[in-house]
Amino acid sequence: MISIKQLMSEDHAHCDELFIEAENLVLKKNWSETEIALNNFINTTLEHFDHEENTLFPAFEQQTGMTSGPTEVMRHEHEQMRALMKDLSQTIKEQNKDRYLSISETLLIFMRQHNMKEEQVLYPMIEQSCSQNATELMKDFVSKDTSSAA
């Protein structure tokens, strides 16, 4: 059986890898490659957010009737991360290494503590309340994953 927690956690780890790839390139001040790597990270992360906000969270909210609980907090944190990602893109335009590293440090810690809350608290709750249709909920996400891997 499909595990929502496992698939989504693996995607977190994948996003981390892309994130660090971009940061390591900034250290070399290789701006054109950094931009590609950063966009790659941002797009993958935004897809992850989209899947949560448009598929997983609504299903959970419908099952439990909780619309103003943890999912609202997670949505709010997504907004904060979207803002930080926008700031990162801006520093690439300015080719400002120090500012990039400073923002990326903030984003990294924010992102990891956000992921921790999802992996340890929210995903297990979603998995429990939506156990009937886990495969259905993860269908698009898994197919996206295999198509991008191919």
Partner: protein, 431 residues
Amino acid sequence: MNYNQLSIDQAPSISTPFVFFLTAPLFAITAALIVIINGAEIFQDRWLPTTLAITHLITLGFITMVMMGAIFQLLPVMAGAPIFKPQITSRIIYGFYTSGIICLTTGFAQQHPLLLKIAVFCLAIAFLTFLISASIALIKSETSGASVKGLSYSIAALWIATSLGILLASGHAWDSIPLLRHFTGLHIAWAAIGWITTMIISIAYQVIPMFQITANYPKILDRNLTTGLFFILLAWSGLEYFNYSANLSFKWLSTLSAFTLCLLIITFVVITIRMQIQRKKRMADATLYFWLIGLINLIIALLLYVFASITGHNLDFLIGIVFFIGFAMSIINGMLYKIIPFLVWLHLHRKLAFKTDSRSRIPTMNDVISSRKSLLQLVLHIIALLLTILAIFKPEQFIYLAACSWLANWGLLLLHMIQSILLYRSCFASK
């Protein structure tokens, strides 16, 4: 599952952990000042009243002070379990705890039984309030995982360390209560290994992969290590107690369990250092170096302990300094350089982020405490640590130099914290 219990965003207000963090360097500075006043005599005997005072200013005043503040912040994030009414609870704990430490250390230094009595009373209330609230939060938590398990064991160990500490302090404070000095070894072991080391291991499970993007810890280690440490410590305590009270000769067995503890912790440290060397995040910062220094000191402290046990040398001072200052304080200091800038950013971001005109004014973590500043303090920390170790062997020559360098070091740490708060306030004021 109780959904209402899910408290994913119930992080306390910024002042809750900050009050504890800001107070910690003040107690450390007081310890350095007492060393300057008393000079080389503090190294004559670990039982000297002044030495006991300095030890507790460091262990209670700095180490446990920061750890308590951090737990208020950590429980909601790591365990989805906030402490009940964190603002009020933390104020009660803070009030009794700081008064307790002041009375305890002054009571020790001045040999003043009344102050020690007040200290026992204040510290008992502070620890009981802290332990009961943290234990309830952890029991209610439905989160499993290595870090939460480790955190639970460290809180359980703190129950034991505190009970033994209160018992010992009561022996100092009341003539009618015998001073059970042979319990000191147990008190130190439960505080140093059960509380401090186990908590740092639990934090490492989360933050080492988080800050440096390393591989995760091997499953067998993160599932079993803290459980193993707790129960071996329990077995060791039992053996030590029976060895003493029933005059039984289980000495070899208790030595064996102590060495097993050392071996397990050294394994953890070696794995952690290897993970850090193989980290994916190439950029190194002060926090990484503080961790490395702390971990290397932990290995040295444990090896010295094993060496001293085998050869019968008295290395109490060296082991104590390498463990509490070299290991615990280094790691805590390094963590403060991540926690403080992050919390300043987080709380400002929450309040100002969606006002378009104020967003640009939110400082990044590096604006709060720059890497140059934290690296400078790191260098001071290393110099002070080396001077202190030299001072154990040549107290007359090095003790004042060591104490003055700690004064500068902790003064700088305090300054960095105060600057962070001022920046936080100025951002608010200009909103």
